[in-house]
């Protein structure tokens, strides 16, 4: 691997102005949140961007080949370009903070972070994205960091010459399998559905690696085994007729995502899978509260869609704020 030196764009220091009432608070710093922030700054809204990190899920994406303007770019490079653009504007940033609770009194939204910081704003855009969904099978939780991984680019190097399983049938599972194909000795690709949901271009790439990759469509995971270290797993066909033991040392779980909406659960309407319900103008069930990107019920989760939704949410929020005055 070629040695490189990544210098992430600097983040603005803590705002530290807890008494200030912001026009707009943006929760989340992925493509939706950062785009929303740039649009807000251009509308000269007094803006707070509050997020665990800048870049969100894209930081975990090795290659991006469908964000217009770039035929090919690494996920983190694309996010550095986003950060650079955010940095042009005087936006208060609270990076490294997770929101614990969002509430609303008569006039303002109140944001409480896990470290106890409080902020108030006239309007809020939730763009807090999604995180990896666990399988919820026996052994999974116990073996996180001991063979169970949700980040293939982070942990793939530990499985050199080893047998591993990738769980899932979508793009992220196939991308994980591609990361691992160069490293592991054998890969089992296991999914509950009988056909793959990944883009055909990714499926074709993996099918070229047939010598290394064994496919188990229509299988579920019964148990991940091992005490202090992963030692194998048992899978079962979806008709429950066959079970099989695989002596893998690593399991990469890529079965999709859950929305980061818990902090707003008591305030706003969520759909069955926990996404914040929005209309096509990013309105939620609460006036002044908007949502954008993967955390919202917008159909299709893509970087380019999230960015577009973030822009739209700010423009609609701006109209709302104008009417407040």
């Amino acid at each position: 691997m070629e040695l490189d030196f990544v210098l992430s764009k600097e983040e603005k220091g803590p705002a530290g102005k807890t008494e200030l009432i912001y026009d707009l608070a943006i929760i989340g710093g992925g493509p939706a949140g950062m785009t929303a922030a740039v649009y807000a700054a251009r509308k000269k809204l007094k803006t707070l961007l509050i997020s665990k990190d800048l870049g969100g899920q894209v930081l975990w994406t090795t290659e991006v080949e469908n964000y217009m303007g770039y035929q090919y770019i690494q996920g983190r490079q694309l996010m550095d370009k986003f950060k650079e653009q955010v940095r042009q504007f005087p936006i208060d940033q609270e990076i490294g903070e997770e929101v614990q609770k969002l509430s609303k009194d008569e006039k303002f939204f109140a944001i409480l972070t896990r470290t106890g910081k409080k902020f108030r704003a006239k309007a809020v855009i939730i763009a807090s994205g999604k995180r990896s969904r666990p399988l919820n099978v026996p052994g999974e939780k116990r073996l996180i960091g001991r063979g169970v991984s949700y980040c293939s680019i982070c942990d793939a190097p530990f499985f050199e010459g080893k047998e591993v399983a990738v769980i899932g049938g979508g793009n992220s599972a196939f991308e994980a399998a591609l990361d691992l194909v160069k490293i592991a000795s054998r890969i089992y690709l296991i999914d509950i559905a009988s056909s793959w949901r990944a883009d055909s271009i990714l499926v074709e790439q993996i099918e070229k690696e047939k010598k290394k990759v064994t496919f188990f469509p229509a299988h579920r995971i019964k148990e991940i085994e091992g005490k202090d270290k992963l030692q194998g797993m048992t899978i079962e066909s979806s008709n429950r007729k066959e079970t099989k033991h695989l002596s893998v040392q690593g399991v990469f779980i890529e079965i999709g995502l859950v929305p980061n909406s818990e902090f707003a659960r008591s305030l706003v309407k969520l759909n069955q899978i926990g996404e914040i319900v929005v209309d096509c103008s990013n309105h939620t069930s609460i006036p002044g509260l908007f949502a954008a990107g993967d955390v919202s019920s917008v159909p299709e989760k893509q970087i380019i869609i999230a960015a577009g939704e973030g822009a739209k949410a700010t423009l609609i929020a701006h109209q709302y704020l104008m009417r407040l005055k």
Partner: protein
């Protein structure tokens, strides 16, 4: 050819304008049988050339044994980031990829001689009176690892009882075996207690406090 591309050099120079006190990078290396030693030495020297406030000192691990002992260096490549005082901040293996951020962040913190931790955290840290050795295992492709390394190094800067090592997993397979590292960031405290994942400041410190008891 320089290891650091022009654009990265310029960005680092820009960041180094903020350096207040002078500091020193101490590199332990050797010529043979060390995969990234040569690159780590070059990186140390290139970084030092980007600010008049930074000096670099290179020791040969095999020859300068006294110095290695003084700095408690037991493996290479190693970089110590120190000012007039050695705060116990170490990078073992090359801080490339995402970990380059950790190196630059530690340089800025050490130059300031203070870590930007919350008053509550500083209060908790002041109650630590026993030596704590934190090892943070990383891979260079892990986007969440620098947060853990930077947090551990800030604790080392804040407390004279805490020392903190970044350990690049690929360089030290015997250590990843010993501590059963199969996912990163993995934090090992005093050789025995450990946890996985980058945690926010207060939660990270809570784990450290548990181990200090």
């Amino acid at each position: 050819m320089a290891l650091l591309k022009d654009e990265v050099q310029n960005e680092v120079k820009e960041r180094f304008k903020k350096l207040s006190g002078s500091l020193r990078l101490v590199n332990f290396t050797q010529k043979l049988e060390c995969h990234h030693c040569e690159d780590t030495r070059r990186l140390t020297e290139e970084i030092a050339s980007l600010s008049p406030k930074i000096s670099a000192k290179v020791y040969n691990f095999a020859i300068d044994k006294e110095k290695a002992q003084q700095y408690k260096i037991d493996k290479i490549p190693a970089i110590v980031v120190e000012a007039e005082k050695d705060y116990g901040i170490r990078f073992f293996g090359i801080p490339g990829g995402y970990e380059f951020n950790s190196l630059i962040s530690s340089i800025i913190d050490v130059s300031r001689g203070a870590a930007d931790l919350s008053p509550e955290s500083k209060d908790k840290i002041s109650k630590i009176t026993k030596p704590l050795h934190i090892q943070v295992f990383v891979t260079l492709t892990c986007p969440y690892c620098p947060a853990a390394v930077q947090m551990a190094h800030k604790l080392a800067l804040e407390s004279e009882y805490i020392t903190s090592d970044m350990i690049e997993s690929a360089e030290f397979p015997h250590l990843t075996n010993k501590y059963q590292v199969m996912g990163v960031p993995k934090i090992v405290i005093n050789e025995k207690f450990g946890f996985e994942g980058a945690l926010p400041e207060s939660a990270f410190l809570d784990e450290i406090m548990k181990a200090s008891k």
